[in-house]
């Protein structure tokens, strides 16, 4: 029987770890709190080293905490990150998403900075400032930066953070061998979607939604090994999903994937979700890495990268691109379906007035593929960092434990 208003508003008859209150997806104040307590405290991927291969190459990056950054490779080949803010009048220093420049010069008043963030030119410095202020007072704000786990460039806004290695821990262990070869990004696109960033990460964290994907049902769910894939949770809210042999040619028009990947069995598929919104998705011939830049509680930029091996022959690269586009490009069969799903969630719970109260994460199947433990693991970490229960954000997990 359909539910009345009061029945609809009642919390699910499941443990509190098995559902979340949808205010965590819609509330503006909670979103701002997430930026401060989560995004500005954790390591996040800014770009891949192949996007800045030469000295003086740079990329600009909108950090999910809200900060605009510059990632640049110095003459010494070291990759560094800085706020993309001129300390003079607060102007954006670099506008283009990428480029190569020895000196980063603000267009406003021509203050100029080197790739170590030091101010190297203030026009008419002594005439204006005499000896009251000089270039050494005007260097850029540097942000913690490290390169690793497949050549990705990671940043952390928190000067007192632990190391990247400590943050990732063992979570990428299943991909250890696969991330050793030098890689190259061959695909990049952004999608702006009216949904909460966590809903995208949720989609990457559960496979029960394979019912939405005809491609995955026929090449995966109906094949041996699918229901044996296991979730493993790691420290800091990360989770992995074990592999299977995908039967790509079960889909009409899709060929079996001939090009593989070091450290991955033929037809293999490993997926690793890193808190709070990064996913390594290695599907036989292509590594896809998703990153998110939330713009508000119900708007997110999702960045999609497709990677191959730097050693690829032209034929191998062409095959990886073909494999990628079949399901993952902007015209791919699966990506559109996934984005349609989270777009629909964004529509249904766009703000508190839509009267959506709870989202269930209650499936328990011994941590196998349709178990929703990956999401539960994520929200346990979210609750810890926020000091709020995801199932009731007005309550604290510590108070509950006491």
């Amino acid at each position: 029987m359909a539910r009345t208003s009061s029945e609809w508003a009642k919390a699910p008859n499941l443990p509190e770890s098995h559902y979340v209150d949808t205010r965590i997806y819609t509330d503006e104040d909670l979103f701002l709190e997430e930026q401060a307590k989560i995004f500005n405290k954790v390591w996040v991927i800014a770009c891949h080293e192949s996007e800045i291969p030469e000295p003086f190459d740079y990329r600009t990056f909108r950090h999910p905490g809200g900060e605009n950054l510059i990632i640049t490779r110095g003459e010494d080949r070291k990759v560094r990150a800085f706020y993309n803010i001129c300390p003079h009048r607060g102007n954006t220093i670099l506008y283009d998403p990428s480029g190569n420049t020895k000196r980063m010069t603000c267009i406003f008043h021509a203050w100029s900075f080197d790739t170590k963030g030091e101010c190297v030119e203030i026009p008419r410095e002594s005439e204006g400032y005499q000896d009251r202020f000089d270039k050494s007072d005007a260097s850029l704000r540097e942000v913690k930066c490290d390169v690793g786990f497949g050549g990705f460039v990671w940043v952390n806004i928190d000067d007192n953070c632990g190391t990247l290695k400590e943050y990732v821990g063992d979570a990428l262990g299943l991909l250890e061998e696969s991330l050793q070869p030098e890689m190259e990004v061959f695909h990049y696109h952004k999608a702006v979607v009216n949904t909460n960033y966590k809903l995208w990460h949720d989609t990457n964290s559960e496979f029960y939604h394979d019912y939405m994907h005809y491609f995955n049902r026929i090449t995966g769910m109906m094949q041996p090994g699918y229901f044996d894939r296991k979730y493993t949770g790691y420290k800091n809210g990360h989770a992995s999903v074990g592999s299977m042999a995908v039967k790509y040619d079960a889909y009409a028009g899709s060929e079996d994937r001939g090009v593989g990947w070091p450290g991955l069995a033929p037809g293999g598929w490993l997926l690793i979700d890193l808190f709070p919104g990064m996913t390594y998705n290695l599907r036989t011939s292509v590594l896809r890495v998703d990153t998110i830049m939330p713009l508000g509680p119900n708007k997110v930029i999702i960045e999609f990268r497709g990677l191959g091996l730097k050693s690829d022959t032209p034929a191998e690269r062409a095959e990886r691109i073909r494999d990628h586009n079949a399901i993952w490009g902007p015209f791919g069969r699966n990506l559109h379906e996934d984005l349609l799903g989270v777009h629909g969630q964004g529509l249904a719970m766009r703000d508190a007035r839509t009267d959506s109260h709870y989202v269930l994460h209650g499936r328990e199947e011994n941590s196998t593929i349709h178990d929703e433990g990956g999401m539960r693991h994520f929200y346990a970490e979210w609750s810890r960092r926020m000091g709020r229960l995801a199932s009731d954000p007005e309550r604290s997990p510590k108070a509950e434990a006491a």
């Binding site: 192949s50 061959f186 695909h187 999608a191 979607v193 005809y214 073909r322 902007p330 379906e337």
Partner: protein
């Protein structure tokens, strides 16, 4: 009818067939060796990218598989403007450059937005007065396609 007129008609007809989701009608306008590509340049990674590439059989399968997938049902309307037609009589073909605008209309309420812009590069086989599409490359300027789309432009 001049070459230019028949070529322009073919280009516009191909857009109209796709707008109407008359995929068979669209493929009937194509040579057997037809190839279709969507490309874009990414300033982020400073690389040309291929986003979709199929031969005629691949396009046919893509269309036939559509009902098996969950897709956004917004309609697309392609607005094409033929900029340039270079006819090579000796080769029996013409190279055509067109401006492409794709408008997307939501089913619920009918709001229309400009969804994508780019250029369309066609090689047309003249076939003695019955031109057919030999090769199409769409070069997109727009790279944020939101939730994407299952139907090619």
């Amino acid at each position: 009818m001049s070459h230019r007129e028949s070529i322009e008609e073919l280009i516009y007809e191909s857009g109209a067939r796709l707008d109407e989701r008359d995929f068979k009608g669209y493929l009937d306008l194509c040579e057997d060796g037809y190839e279709y590509t969507i490309e874009a340049y990414s300033p982020e990674i400073r690389k040309d990218m291929i986003w979709l590439h199929h031969d005629k059989a691949g396009m046919d399968l893509l269309f036939k598989n559509l009902p098996k997938h969950n897709s956004d049902h917004s309609t697309l309307m392609r607005h094409l403007t033929v900029y340039k037609v270079d006819v090579d009589e000796a080769a029996g073909e013409a190279n055509v450059v067109s401006g492409l605008q794709v408008f997307r209309t939501e089913l619920d309420g009918g709001t229309t937005e400009l969804y994508a812009v780019g250029k369309q590069h066609d090689t047309i086989k003249l076939n003695g007065g019955t031109p057919k599409l030999g090769n199409r490359k769409i070069r997109l300027e727009t790279r944020n396609l939101g939730i994407g789309h299952h139907v090619p432009f």
